[in-house]
Amino acid sequence: MLPEKVTDDSGTTRDERARRGDARAAAAASSPADAPAASVRGLSKSFKGVRVLEDVSFDVAEGEALVLLGASGSGKTTILRVLAGLERPDSGSVHLHGRDVTDLPARERGVGVIFQSYALFPRMTVEQNVGYGLRIRGRKRRDVKEKVESLLELVHLVDQRKKLPAQLSGGQQQRVAIARTLAYEPQMLLFDEPFGALDAQIRVRLRREIRALLRDVNVPALFITHDQEEALELGDRIAVLHSGHLEQIGTPEEVYNRPETEYVATFLGAANLLLGVVARGNRVELGTVAVEAGSEAGRFQVGQSVKLVFRPEDVRVSKTGELPADCNPLANGVVEEKHFVGAYERLSVRLDLVARAPRPGEPPLYEISETPERRLGVPVIVTRTKSETSAAPLRVGDRVTLCLTIFRVLPNFPLASERGGRVIDTQK
């Protein structure tokens, strides 16, 4: 399935939002066939004066799995609760299959929520739990029985049908919770931290199972997680949330390889950040070194303060000075530390560049060590795969040349809370 084009509403004003009200009516009138499964526009929400959501907009396409990724307190659970109808947004709208459901209560939305605790009814058997949605809809007993039967087969729980939830394992309980929502053919499935309560080993297995199950039933799904590995594996697309604001939305590859903000870069995996200034000829000056940054630097004005962002695995290291083609030379350095961490090797390399001292107001990005000999330079983290390691073994103290295969140049804002030209008032 193709990722939806996402409208970025981060720059909209109040007037524009008001005009969108008319657009909303038009959208509702248009045929629901070409509407996304779920569409969230301009969602804002405060709890007791604290902003938890700030103008969040995104779409979930038919059959797509979107993962909302964020640290605790980023507002991801609030988004799920708003979609489910358990929370009312202060402003903004929610459309499901083209229908405006913003003011609809939870029970009329036809959305399936899989709670973190699974929220299975403790005094009902597995069968009764799964059939609950049909029984309260007054379906015939025989129809309920048939549907429950087929759902239990789907989630491989036929043998457990007479058991109470407390007698099942965490994974089984989760499958009951999913079957219970599938019973009434939900328009969308919402998973709240679905693997949070499970062991690390089971987690990996279950998320593959759920992924396969979702493909079978072809229901659009929204996952909420703070686990980046989980997000990368589960999502057709990932939306990264940070303090109530949508930082970036895109395929796992896009979000991982082309982070649009510093937060995304550092939250999804490890990243090296080097403070620099854009120079003439699409170059980024890092102290005494200039890196050819091409179009990445071209997006900025000469003299603008930027950060060079790259992941540890996107660095190539060479002892001989020979670098592969299409790899941008960075600088020379000395291997300072070497750690074996299972699947790969992690190096700490101190680059031979005199760090540019941060300007007043700028956050210091890296420490210049204050040891007696006062070594100059900047340490970066590099990881190498086993094949790289065995092809060119390195020792601590070796002098190496570094180059970058993938990197980004991002604006450097004086305050971490200030991004994309918008200011989130931290006093609120």
Binding site: A84, G85, L86, P105, A106, R107, E108, R109, G110, V111, G112, V113, F115, Q116, S117, A119, F121, P122, R123, Y132, G133, I136, R137, R180, T181, Y184
Partner: protein, 277 residues
């Protein structure tokens, strides 16, 4: 209890508090609780089962016990139904005056029962603030209804307290799950909330019943204490004792004591069953 015992394992050596404390407790319990209770049974049985039965089957005694059971039953019923309603509303919604209502509901626990009965009498009595507007034939005081009213006044905080604490600690995600599945408020309440309340309902009902069946202070004021008409079991015990018919009083006392033992045993030993474990 076992947790408290094992928590002391880290202390080594002889702890004088153990024999001394235990000795004190047993010494106090004997004359305060155990011996008085035992004495009812010893006294009741001193002339054999026959005289006990004779004393118990006196018409007024039978009536008094019946009246106590019936009035306590209605008070219990009221407490459970309205206790659930009150606890539901007060735990699910926040509104102006919520705390004031909770305090008001819980207040009677702190009021002496005789004061409670007296207050009811002043309000509902023939010349009371409300009672004066009620016709002679429909007067509430000095009828079994007055007993029920007094019982509710005294016991409602008990049932409410038990139910409220369960409502407040209940996992809300169950109700939310039910709502997202498509259940109406009523369906959610019936299928999800009520089953979780089972333990609290049984506990609240038993507490109410145990308290109501032994209520004396308020009932003696509002009931009129007419033998065979508005005399409950505790009042019967008091009246017979005053008349010097100790055997008659004792027979009813034994029955009341057994009632309390039964209820207490259920609350204490069948806790797991009550909570549905």
């Amino acid at each position: 209890m076992s947790a408290a015992v094992s928590a002391m394992r880290h202390v080594r050596g002889f702890d004088p508090a153990k024999p001394f404390g235990l000795g004190m407790v047993i010494l106090l319990m004997l004359p305060l609780v155990l011996l008085p209770l035992a004495s009812i049974f010893i006294f009741g049985m001193k002339d054999g089962m026959r005289s006990f039965w004779v004393a118990l089957s006196a018409p007024d005694a039978v009536f008094a016990l019946k009246l106590s059971v019936v009035t306590s039953f209605y008070a219990t019923l009221f407490n459970v139904v309205f206790g659930i309603l009150a606890a539901y509303v007060l735990s699910r919604y926040t509104f102006f005056g919520r705390t004031a209502i909770i305090v008001t509901i819980s207040l009677p626990t702190a009021i002496p029962t005789a004061v409670a009965g007296f207050a009811l009498l002043l309000l509902w009595g023939k010349y009371g603030m409300i009672g004066r507007f009620i016709s002679e034939d429909h007067q509430l005081m000095f009828t079994p209804y007055a007993i029920i009213l007094a019982n509710i006044f005294v016991t409602f905080p008990l049932a409410f307290g038990v139910l409220m604490s369960v409502f407040e600690t209940m996992d809300r995600s169950l109700e939310e799950a039910s709502a997202t599945i498509g259940a109406t408020r009523w369906q959610t309440f019936w299928h999800v909330t009520l089953p979780s309340l089972r333990g609290a309902i049984v506990t609240g009902a038993l507490l109410t019943f145990a308290r109501a069946i032994g209520e004396f202070g308020s009932t003696i004021l509002v009931s009129g204490n007419l033998a065979g008409s508005t005399q409950t079991a505790p009042l019967y015990i008091f009246a017979k004792f005053n008349e010097g018919q100790v055997e008659a009083a004792n027979a009813v006392a034994i029955v009341l004591a057994l009632f309390s033992f039964a209820i207490f045993s259920v609350l204490f030993f069948a806790r797991d069953w009550i909570e549905g474990k």
